[in-house]
């Protein structure tokens, strides 16, 4: 089975690097970027199966990043990360085509379960 290509998008540099490391540890082909702008540029030149995007980011927020990604890569799945009390943003993301949203802080098992569910995978090999 080919490795799942995941892009992590969050302006929290530490969070991105650790999530990437932990996803790689679990066999995913994970890469991270620190802004919506970088995510759009990367998706234009590289294939990803799924993106995990934080909603609250400077300049281009997660919802706008989702909209732009869906324009250039309609088949790419997107999971949003939002904060407590910001569920409305998650719902807005669903209306814009996100597969689902998770409320921070999330653990790696929740993320991998959601990634697998979005890609129709019942369990990791």
């Amino acid at each position: 089975m080919p490795r799942i290509r995941v892009m992590i998008v969050d302006d929290e540099e530490d969070l991105v690097s650790i999530l990437v490391e932990r996803l790689q540890f679990r066999g995913y082909q994970a890469e991270g970027v620190l802004s919506g702008k970088e995510a759009i540029a990367k998706a234009a030149v590289q294939e990803f199966d799924i993106a995990v995007i934080d909603v609250k980011m400077p300049e281009i927020n997660g919802i706008e990043t989702l909209r732009r990604l869906k324009k250039i890569k309609p088949s790419m799945k997107v999971i949003l990360l939002t904060g407590h009390g910001c569920e409305a943003e998650g719902e807005e993301g669903l209306a814009e085509g996100a597969f689902d949203y998770l409320i921070k802080p999330v653990n790696i098992e929740e993320i991998t379960a959601k990634i697998n569910s979005a890609l129709g995978i019942s369990s990791r090999e």
Binding site: D14, I18, V106, N107
Partner: protein
């Protein structure tokens, strides 16, 4: 029109929401670092050696998040205590240093950095520190929302003949009119503070002037 009391509640709520979002990020990172440590333990259990550098990195990451969390809580606590008394004698410099620190995140979301340059070591005022911070916060929002800000906004404090001036400098020419139009919204607060809010330096700075004891 919204009363000053309503504005104060909204201000407190807005700062609290921003700070708790930042704390949530600290918890999220800490959560992942702890998880990473769990991954290493799992690796160790499988007889795969974990390099000492990797463990050192985990230690440094955890220490950094603890320090970050402590700073955020300290700032919020100091801010909350400025609402203890309506009128009091206080030093403007640490109060401003604290609120500028709390404004780093909302400014950062607009890709703007705040550079605090007090100019004086201490400046005593008799007044309402909470209301003064509200005035600064609203003024900063006005500048950030006008889209006229550059990459860095400098926050300075000056003292001149019984008056304290807090200036937000680094405004672009294009946004001066937008900021100017919003000044009227803060008239009620300025009246309460017995102060004045105006654009100075050919519109490159927005300044709050309030009476000082020095």
């Amino acid at each position: 029109m919204e009363s000053i009391f309503d504005e104060q509640i909204r201000f407190f709520a807005s700062v609290t929401a921003s700070v708790t979002h930042e704390l949530n990020n600290v918890i999220a990172v800490t959560n992942e670092v702890v998880g990473l440590l769990g991954d290493f333990i799992e690796e160790g259990a499988s007889n795969r050696a974990v390099p000492p550098e990797a463990l050192k990195k985990v230690h440094n990451r955890l220490s950094a998040q603890v320090s970050r969390g402590q700073m955020i809580v300290k700032r919020l606590n100091r801010f909350a205590h400025t609402a203890d008394e309506k009128m009091r004698t206080f030093d403007l410099v640490p109060v401003m240093e604290n609120i500028v620190g709390l404004c780093e995140r909302p400014a950062g979301l607009k890709k703007v950095k705040l550079d605090f340059r007090p100019g004086v070591a201490s400046l005593m005022l008799n007044g309402n520190p909470f209301l003064l911070q509200l005035c600064f916060y609203q003024s900063l929002r006005l500048v950030l929302d006008s889209g006229c800000s550059g990459d860095i906004l400098t926050i300075s404090i000056n003292s001149d003949d019984g008056s304290a001036g807090i200036a937000i400098s680094g405004l672009d020419k294009g946004g001066i009119d937008a900021v100017g139009l919003g000044l009227a919204k803060l008239a009620g607060i300025m009246k309460e503070l017995h102060g004045e809010l105006r654009l100075i330096d050919d519109g490159r700075s927005l300044a709050i002037f309030v009476p000082s004891l020095d």
